[in-house]
Amino acid sequence: MASAHEAQNEHHIVPKRVYFLIFAALIVLTWVTALVSRIDLGRWNIFVALAIAITKASLVILFFMHVKYSTRLTKFIVMCGFFWLSLLLFITMADLWTRSWMGVPGR
């Protein structure tokens, strides 16, 4: 346990190659999402765009921000932040999406 903990906390030097690979992936995804936005996929446009954005953000968080190599406590704190954000967005939007179904006044 102690040794694993120490190994985790060592200065983790990520090889430069990793940064260049992540950068290339981010650029490709940027231009893919820009081009796909011109194709009419109906309601799927927003899902494709957001899926690509979430993938890009995850790559930045895990590799550029070193969360992949950080302690479990740091990972937990990062997860808490995004979990809170998802509560804010999903619960509010679930309300707004479904109000009109029931004919509730005020949409």
Binding site: E6, N9, E10, H11, I13, V14, K16, Y19, F20, F23, L26, I27, T30, W31, T33, A34, S37, R38, I39, D40, L41, G42, R43, N45, I46, A49, L50, I52, A53, K56, A57, V60, I61, F63, F64, M65, S70, T71, L73, T74, I77, V78, C80, G81, F82, W84, L85, L88, L89, T92, M93, L96, W97, R107
Partner: protein, 229 residues
Amino acid sequence: MDTNVADAPEIANPSALQHHFENPEQQRDASTIGMWSFLLTEIMFFGGLFLAYFAYRQAYPLAFASASLKTDLWLGAANTTVLIGSSLTMALAVHFAAIGKRQLLVLFLTLTLILGGVFLGVKAYEYHDKWEHHEIPGPHFECDGCVDAQHTQLFFSLYFGMTGLHASHMIIGAGILLVLIWQAYKGRFTPDWYTPIENFGLYWHFVDIVWIFLFPLLYLIDRSGRGLT
């Protein structure tokens, strides 16, 4: 040795282990967690604006779809590329700080500053374009060919609010970068202690992530013209 640290006189070298930490790793982890705690407040800060965007887009889909076509897709994509490039140079700057390459650290911090400046320049050009076309919410607002023009003002209010808050984060970041470049040039950072570089990197990448979501929401998701017919 550990017991002596607390008795040591106050010294200017910040690389010294502060007496309330057991070891350098704990000190490092604490600063990383502190920085992330700040970034969580930033997620809440931007999160409210993202929620406002989703809520009003849900309420006025036609207005948002037609207003979103007023953004320039190619400028937006090019600017995203520039900003991701600045994240790469920032990640490399942290890398060179960790292995103690002072000159490369200064070089890559400077490149990050330049790319950030290019991003802000393109953004200023886009703002100017909106100004020329009277697409600023207010009494003189106009939106040629927009559906439900009254509510397209909501889109542009959110556009300027969200990209403006993002840009102000970048301007603050550029100011901090200037200080860090000067300190790095003076040799303040060593592989033992480069916490400001590392934490600034987290801030810069966070600002990049905000843009990664602003780009599809403001420029892309209504681009195909769905909802206009």
